[in-house]
């Protein structure tokens, strides 16, 4: 008896809510540094602030043990050119990785400090080397360091900037280290709003409020500095919540809470107009892509049903390419299929690989990549053997994702060289920043933001929170539990998703966007006051919907502000068809000021000389942690 209906049929009643429900009680917690979000960036921020002597509070919507946008593992630690095997200069590599509409600040931090961060992972007990000699003979394995260099972006070993790692050991190690350092962790608490000094948006941030999504308890956090480490938003355009959970590449806890909080607090955001096609997951795509992107075929040659090689790069040592090449080639391959040149289905030809490479790819890389560990284990238990078997690929068979099912893109909070946002007291790291990147980016920037926020907190005045702002947010949080009919979170979510699909996706015009805004405003006025939640879990989902709604409005405002098309941003306005005109080759910065939308522009590479600025801001950088 493990399902809900089994319980009901056997017991003749539904199970009681297993946690004590206390919507009205609350507590106030005070610290120097408050970290919102306990994923990779959040844990690192907490650890690094605590190591600087700050009293740290870490708040996480799930449980820090396995939480985070990317899921439970990490197979590749990317862009760490200070590693001893690297063949590139860290500052040059950072510049090379920084094209238009990227994040030069975060990338420079990643390239300079990513490797130190990895070594600190090892200090905490995580596994980063083949110290048990399990992968002798694997190409890229270095006997001296026992590192496994990856072929990613590494044709013929020309760069060595990416290491293969045992990332499933990372999250538990981070949580353990947080505890060891005395970080006060609040798991299962959803932060819903930031607090500004005197309760006025735009003022210094002095804490946040939230509630426990099991007990409903209300929590007020007061801190001298706050670091926003929430992740992006993966489900905004998704109509069907039963699909949104499964087969998705990113955690379904990503619901734009951070964008919404930053917006309401008056912080500046940028690149908010960017969205892209949702090529992964959602029941349209097979699990391998949902769970692992292209990873199931990284290093593995794809062949057709007759064993003929497909002209698709494998990201292996001989091509060192990135997966977008696959998408570019797909139309040509499709033509070939229709002409009878290639036969469906396609297969990943594991047996064609040398045995040690089969093992390293199937048993190590894929088991350490986040959600594919369970796939590998389940298939292995069912008899799949990479020495004998070819794994089916569902390319073409499963069709394309519809263009209107999208995912918000590179938008995020604007930061400076201290990773401070436009608001005093508020810092951001990891995926919450604009144009964020991967695991090592989140780890390195979290660690950096932690020490910068701790330094600020040492000098900062005592935070004063506004009882009025707290009361207002409390009222907003608990409104849905006061009702038991109206509209439920799933339907509201679908309504928001539909508005975005119709009015802010493939076809963009001023009038469509305005219709979108009008629909969202109508949802806010008509339906949000009818939102109901029957327990603390559904209350969390309801509040997430409100984050989706705010995030959706920000995307539309930013889209209205960009009156040009852009290939670089995958953003096409029918009414402004000119692509990437010089005068629009800029970041649009957007914020909410007294309930008015205010925008300004920043030029490309607004962060200035990356090497000089990094060095100017980090003269006291200590390198790898040597403390206790």
């Amino acid at each position: 008896m493990t399902t809900w209906h089994d319980f009901l049929l056997r017991e003749g009643k539904v199970p009681d809510w297993p946690y004590p429900v206390n919507y009205d009680t609350g507590q106030e917690i005070e610290g120097d540094v408050l970290v919102v979000g306990g994923g990779i960036a959040g844990c690192w921020a907490a650890i690094s602030a605590a190591r600087c002597g700050a009293r740290v509070i870490l708040v996480e919507k799930g449980d820090t043990i396995r939480s985070g946008a990317g899921g439970p593992g990490c197979d590749h630690y990317c862009d760490i050119p200070t590693n001893p095997l690297s063949k590139v200069d860290p500052d040059e590599w950072a510049r090379e990785m920084t094209g238009p509409y990227t994040n030069g600040i975060g990338t420079q931090i990643q390239c300079r400090e990513g490797y130190d961060t990895l070594l600190e992972y090892e200090q905490m007990g995580a596994k980063i080397r083949d110290d048990k000699d399990e992968y002798l003979g694997v190409e890229g394995r270095d006997e001296k360091t026992k590192f496994l260099v990856s072929p990613r972006q590494n044709k013929d070993h020309c760069r060595n900037t990416v290491l293969r790692v045992w990332g499933s050991t990372f999250k538990p190690a981070l949580k353990k280290e947080c505890k060891r350092l005395g970080v006060r962790i609040f798991d299962r608490v959803m932060v819903t709003g930031l607090l500004n000094e005197h309760g006025i948006p735009g003022n210094r941030v002095v804490g946040a409020v939230g509630f426990n999504n099991r007990t409903g308890e209300f929590l007020v956090f007061k801190a001298k500095a706050t670091i926003l480490c929430t992740a992006g938003n993966h489900s905004l355009y998704v109509l069907n919540t039963e699909l949104s959970g499964y087969n998705s590449f990113r955690s379904r806890t990503m619901t734009g809470d951070g964008f919404a909080m930053a917006w309401r607090a008056g912080a500046e955001l940028t690149l908010m107009e960017t969205t892209g096609p949702l090529v992964l997951g959602l029941g349209f795509r097979h699990t391998w892509y949902g769970g692992a992107g292209d990873a199931s075929y990284e290093n593995v040659q794809l062949v057709d049903a007759n064993g003929k090689k497909l002209p698709i790069p494998t990201q292996g040592w001989r091509d060192g390419s990135m997966p977008d090449a696959f998408l570019r080639l797909l139309p040509t391959i499709r033509e070939g299929v229709l002409k009878g040149e290639y036969a469906l289905p396609f297969y990943g030809d594991f047996p064609a690989m040398p045995p040690e490479e089969q093992r390293a790819t199937w048993y190590m890389m894929l088991r350490e990549e986040s959600t594919s560990r369970i796939i590998v284990d389940t298939y292995s238990a069912a008899g799949f053997d990479p020495a004998k078997h070819q794994l089916m690929s569902y390319q073409l068979l499963e069709g394309d994702s519809p263009k209107q099912w999208r995912v918000p893109g590179r938008g995020g909070v604007l930061v400076d060289w201290n990773l401070r946002t436009s608001l005093e007291g508020l810092y951001a790291a990891g995926e919450q920043m604009f144009a964020a990147r991967d695991h090592s980016f989140c780890a390195a920037t979290g660690r950096y933001a932690g020490r910068k926020a701790a330094a600020y907190a040492k000098e900062a005045a005592e935070p004063v929170i506004s009882a009025e702002q707290v009361a207002k947010e409390k009222k907003r949080i608990y409104a849905p539990v006061k009702r038991s009919s109206g509209i439920e979170w799933k339907e509201l979510h679908a309504g928001i998703g539909r508005a975005m699909q119709y009015f802010c996706s493939e076809y963009l015009t001023d009038s469509l966007l305005r219709l979108g805004l009008q629909t969202l405003e109508e949802i806010e006025e008509e339906y949000v006051p009818k939102l109901y939640a029957l327990d603390p879990h559904k209350l969390m989902r309801s509040l997430e919907d409100l984050s989706l709604l705010t995030h959706a409005k920000i995307i539309i405002h930013a889209s209205l502000a960009r009156k040009a098309s852009s290939k670089l941003l995958d953003f096409y306005r029918i009414d402004y068809p000119e692509v990437d005109p010089q005068e629009w080759n800029k970041y649009i910065v957007i914020k909410n000021e007294n309930e008015k939308v205010v925008t300004r522009m920043l030029p490309q590479y607004f962060w200035g000389d990356m090497k000089k600025n990094y060095e100017a801001h980090n003269q006291d950088y200590q390198g790898v942690y040597r403390g206790k």
Binding site: D63, I65, S67, G245, N247, A382, L391, H537
Partner: protein, 99 residues
């Protein structure tokens, strides 16, 4: 087959069984309840028994519950039927599907 009295139930959400617990091996430690970021499970009111699947429609198939269960065989992953993949033997050409 023992007959069960019919009760009025709404349709179940689908898929609704992301994992299958083995009550002989599961000790009801609730570790899987804690590692699940989504709260797909709640602890069983009867201590020592496997958790109850409450929010299966929110599962994102991250696998943490099964990966991190300290008792081998206590919980097994259960892919939705439409997600069960195929492979073939390179030598014989025989095609297999995840059962």
């Amino acid at each position: 087959m023992t007959e069960r009295k019919a009760v009025a139930l709404p349709n179940l959400v689908t898929p609704n069984t992301p994992v299958i617990f083995n009550p002989d091996k599961c000790v009801g430690c609730n570790h899987c309840v804690e590692v699940c970021q989504i709260d797909v499970f709640i602890p069983n009111p009867e201590k020592g028994n496997p958790p109850i699947i409450l929010h299966p429609d929110e599962c994102w198939y991250c696998g943490c519950c099964v990966n991190d269960c300290p008792h081998p065989g206590a919980v097994k992953f259960n892919w939705p039927l439409q997600q069960r993949g195929y492979w073939r033997d390179k030598e014989t050409g025989e095609v297999f599907r995840l059962k």
